[in-house]
């Protein structure tokens, strides 16, 4: 057998390109590893400081007054957070879905592009700016209230929900729409009866992600719903209410270490909530996408 006159092994420039290729690959892998490591370090350090102060009282009692700051819990802040985020969701979910329906189903393509861009931009607005905005139109005249905080959170949620919803509406096959339209059913009825029901799973997971996102908001709440709050559980949205994030903020710069460890415990609670809900929502969304696509 003759020796072949060529080799299939990498030589010269190809060899150099391969080395560069491997080097860049290693660099990228390192960066990815770093990102994961940062998350792990945050989770571990918050966990190690916060988990110790977690007990049943932390979730079921209000702050003990007077000389015993160690006792009691942050029930009032948990209730406040639930009210704030709950009302924000009630406002943002229907509006966000309507916006998404307009953008993906009804708007002429050019308007849809503009609306989509507007949503992406409002997604990037610093939340403190939204806080100031709500402050000037509501709080300056009517004083602080949980409702004002909820409105700010709803403004943050709206583009998140609208974009997530729009994305799943686009996944609904157009043959489903055509089936309904060809029966002489209007565009709007088709959207309500056919398109939204098949996109429902995706809409709900998108909403869950938005909830996880705003549950950790602090800045806009600081000057909308933090003054003169009571440290007993209160669910009236017309009163200013505390939230977990506000408690972390105010407890962490108290001199008394009992408050500081409560701040860590609240941080740990919030972090777990956000991690678990976003992870669950992402998993659900992936499964749902597969179902719609297949």
């Amino acid at each position: 057998m003759n020796e072949p006159a060529f080799t299939l092994k990498a030589t010269g420039r190809l060899r150099r390109r391969q080395l560069v290729n491997q080097g860049m690959g290693a660099l990228a892998a390192g960066a990815a590893l770093l990102a994961v490591a940062v998350l792990a370090i945050v989770v571990i350090s918050v966990g190690s400081r916060g988990a110790g102060s977690l007990n049943l009282a932390f979730f079921t009692q209000n702050q003990a007054q007077g000389f015993n700051p160690k006792g009691g819990g942050v029930l009032f802040a948990i209730v406040g957070s639930v009210v704030l985020v709950g009302i924000a969701t009630l406002i943002a979910l229907p509006l966000g879905v309507l916006v998404a329906v307009y953008v993906s189903e009804l708007a002429p393509p050019r308007l849809a592009r503009v609306a989509r861009m507007a949503l992406d931009i409002s997604n990037g607005i610093p939340t403190i700016v939204i806080g100031i905005f709500v402050f000037t139109i509501l709080v300056a005249a009517h004083g602080q209230s949980a409702l004002a905080g909820s409105i700010a959170l709803a403004i943050i949620m709206l583009p998140l929900i609208a974009r997530a919803t729009e994305e799943v509406l686009l996944l609904v096959p157009s043959s489903q729409r055509e089936a309904s339209l060809a029966l002489g059913v209007s565009r709007w009825r088709t959207t309500v009866q056919v398109v939204i029901p098949s996109a429902l799973g995706g809409i709900l997971t998108g909403t869950t992600l938005a909830i996880a996102r705003v549950a950790g908001e602090t800045a806009p709440l600081l000057f909308l719903t933090s003054l003169g709050t009571s440290s007993t559980a209160d669910a009236n949205p017309l009163h200013p209410l505390q939230s977990l994030t506000l408690v972390i903020f105010s407890y962490s710069d108290q001199a008394d270490p009992a408050y500081q460890s409560k701040a860590w415990a609240a941080a740990f609670t919030l972090m777990c909530f956000v991690l678990v809900t976003s992870l669950a929502a992402k998993l659900a969304l992936a499964r749902y996408r597969k179902k719609l696509g297949g």
Binding site: A179, S180, L181, A182, L183
Partner: protein
Amino acid sequence: MEAIKTKIEVTEKERLPVVSEREAVFEARDLAVYYGDQRAIDGVNLDIYQRLITAIIGPSGCGKSTFLRTLNRMNDLVPAARLTGQLRYRGIDLYGPGVDAVEVRRRVGMVFQKPNPFHSSIYDNVAYGLRILGMKKDLDERVEKALRAAALWDEVKDRLKDSALGLSGGQQQRLCIARAIAVEPEVVLFDEPASALDPISTSAIEDLMHELKRDYTLVIVTHNMQQAARVADMTAFFGLDVSPDGNRQGVLVEYDETEKIFTNPSDKRTEGYVTGRFG
């Protein structure tokens, strides 16, 4: 060597009404459809007659689907689509002012190439249009009637509450036909309704079309010439034409009784197409 010719048998139909007794449901006059700047069909003059089956045949891209989708204003959904010339439906300008596309589609139903049942039960698929269009009286009877008319009732009567997605492709397509006729349209358009189906389901759909002809005007786009010859009373052959400006558009080459199109076409291009020699 003798050219191999597929011999196409034209099925014997009940006698066609003589030309003067045919009633035109659609009248296309110098119809052209554009997608943006591109002309998809041009200069189409064609009458579609009541209670007959009209087949539209022709090479891929010659605008068969485009023409079909102008008949129920389905092409309104394509933002870039526009139309010149005239299309009358029982005397009314279909694209005239004040004509509502939703009302048009109520009267002119459509069955698509790929079966597209809703992700709900068999019963709800058929009842969907009835409920929304307010035909809720005797809903069960109406659903049964539509399923019977679509020759599907015996296969599904014991599992009406089951998901429609569990049906075979051929059953799904008959379900889509049942869904379309449940709302009692006047015309049903079929865009290659059997191209995704096996031969047995295909012949079930063809038999069904013969039954439906008694009550409905049917228009079917098909690539399968045997199918056109078997089911259609009238056949329109669309061809591709390149105009001096370089635009490739579909034009109506020949339109006549199916028998004539397949046995004695007057245009060379039709003859080439139906005998398998393209040109």
